[in-house]
Amino acid sequence: MEVMILMKDQVAKLYDELSGEYNFFAPVKEKGYVAYRKISNPKEIELNYFNSKIPPKEILFPQMEVLFEFKTDGKNVIEIEDRKDLDEKNILFGIRPCDAHSFDLLEKFFAFGDFQDEIFLKKRENSLIIGIGCNSPKSTCFCTSVEGHPFQKDDMDIFLVDLGDKYLVEGISDKGNNLIQQLSWLSKASKADTIKAKELAKKAEDLITTKLDLTNTSQILESNFGNEIWKEVSENCLGCGSCTFLCPTCTCFDVIDENDQYENRGRRIRIWDTCQFCLYTLHTSGHNPRDNNIERCRNRILHKFSYYPLNYDLIGCVGCGRCIQVCPVNNDLRTIINKINNIKPKEEENVSV
């Protein structure tokens, strides 16, 4: 497929052409931060940004999502209404490679096993990701350590490279290529453009200074469930949910029923939940399998770096660095990983809890 060029001032045109058919989600500036929102005016699009505060998973897996609605006769349910908006087509514009990769992880997770989460998967299927390379990754980024790259394009449908006043447009999937063909007004890219894009990719890679060695981490984690290190890494943790709520791969949710005050109807919704809250695992009997910070912190790390590799043969982290930036007590994931890697193998001791 040929590589095309989209001028930055043509983004509005792109929006105009696609917004009829698609819900157009793009980064906008909101309350001082960047967020992905469904836009109604191309002027809202923020083109100059690192990454969003809340990951774009909130487009396909929003913090509060209706599972179904129901009508009652005052006491009993008489009718259940399924979601009807799942077939709407979405364009996710300006997604960074790490977040695009997170969609891949989320898809694997929601499709895993005998039961599929149709709500997520359908929306995912109807979404077209126009990703964009990271020209200047942040110091907290470590995507190259988790099999990613600031210019990784595998998980996108269309890949953009910011060349200053224009974007290099490359179709990746069939879906993406078809869309590019539809946009006949796109000009062709010159050789200089593609060379420049390559240079930018190299430059971006060099800018990533954080290198984590995750080759053995999952094995080390498997045999060190009861290690002393967990006390150390959870010592100053407060037990808030900022790391997990802002994590592009965290998927846990809670289910609640809501009733309309004035009409005989209601809905069952899911809201984000996090393993960092003590109520997350609390049984009605009062027993709590993960009763303190140590266990909860451990669960988060193990889930991403041990359970994900065991279950899906993938690392459950995309290296976006959001949790590092937002942790109120600066409990740095990079430090934790390094500490884990430094655990000395214990041969004589049988580790158990």
Partner: protein, 337 residues
């Protein structure tokens, strides 16, 4: 004293010296302080048990977490192998001291096990404001130079006057060092402080109409993701089961619908009346950068004006919500015309 930079150096040296002494004399088992954060505009609470680690401690105007939180009963980490409570030394700026004293008033901690390493806090940087003003550029390094905050990035450098970019609460703070009660404080502390405050900083907001206030509150709070970082970092939020988590009955929803967000923040504010020690940690840690400071100030103002109370100043005065008087003001009660 000189500028902020040299003040910081003095404070830091003092912390290290006192901490080293406390550990050497075995007066405490563990020191809770701050260490350098791994990202700019941050610091990380640290637990130090060995004298040689004392050099990790620092003071850099980014020590925004209220360390008293680690002594509140919800986080039971400070026990030895036999389950005995450790004796704790704690780096205490004014608001940490106030929090400790207030927790003692509420019978949550025993000040006898605690040594405050009192310092005269020279203010905390409003990191959310700097982050917002820098915008979509990455901050790689921050430092204090003279009386300025220097923020450096890949291709920029910006100077912020410290006085202006302090936390709003620090600008009006009257309790820089911990009040000294039951001789639990080493280092700098206040003896019998008397607090006068005019609360001019929120009078602008108070003079707004209901609709304006509501619009502001709605705009500010609607970014909330209910991660509860504000609650978890608050030394006064030590309930085992917070009201938002209660499910028998379910008082308020857990969703991010504004009504539920409002219910959480309003009731939390209500619970902090006469208890909040104005440390500003909640605003400093909010991942969405929500500024809860005006609410904090209003709470202080209400209890000061109505009940002449300032939280965490001494061990004897009961907080307003734990006491009452026949002569309380009741101008708000409905009366016949």
């Amino acid at each position: 004293m000189g500028d902020i930079e040299s003040e910081n150096q003095n404070i830091e040296n003092k912390i290290k010296e006192l901490a080293r002494n406390l550990l050497r004399e075995k007066e405490v088992d563990v020191i809770i302080g701050y260490k350098k954060g791994t990202v700019p505009l941050s610091s990380s609470p640290v637990f130090i048990t060995r004298e040689e680690d004392v050099d990790k401690l620092l003071w850099n105007n980014l020590c925004y977490v209220n360390l008293a939180n680690y002594l509140a009963p919800r986080i039971p980490t400070l026990y030895d192998e036999e389950g005995q409570k450790l004796k704790v030394g704690i780096v205490a700026k004014g608001c940490v001291g106030r929090a400790l004293i207030h927790l003692a008033v509420e019978n949550q901690i025993n000040l006898e096990n605690i040594k405050m390493i009192g310092i005269s806090c020279n203010g905390i940087i409003n990191r959310k404001r700097i982050e917002k003003e820098i915008g979509e550029k990455e901050i790689l390094e921050t430092s204090i130079l003279g009386n300025n905050i220097i923020v450096k990035g890949r291709d920029f450098e910006k100077t912020f006057p410290f006085d202006e970019y302090m936390n709003e609460l620090c600008k009006v703070c009257k309790v820089k060092s911990p009040p000294n009660v039951v001789d639990s404080c080493v280092g700098e502390c206040l003896e019998n402080p008397v607090i006068e405050d005019d609360f001019n900083d929120i009078s602008d907001f108070e003079s707004k109409t209901s609709e304006e206030k509501w619009a502001y509150i709605k705009d500010t709070l609607s970014a909330c993701t209910r991660c509860y970082a504000c609650r978890e970092v608050c030394p006064m939020c030590y309930c085992n089961l917070c009201f938002v988590d209660q499910n028998k009955p379910i008082w308020f929803g857990k969703t991010t619908d504004f009504t539920d967000i409002f219910a959480f923040h309003f009731n939390r504010a209500m619970h902090l009346a006469g208890r909040c020690v104005a440390c500003g940690a909640c605003s400093s840690v909010c991942p969405m950068g929500i500024d809860l400071n005006i609410i904090t100030r209003k709470l202080e103002k209400i209890v000061k004006e109505r009940y002449n109370f300032t939280s965490g100043m001494d061990k004897e005065t009961l907080p307003p919500m734990m006491s009452f008087s026949m002569d309380d003001n009741q101008e708000f009660m409905l009366e016949e015309d």
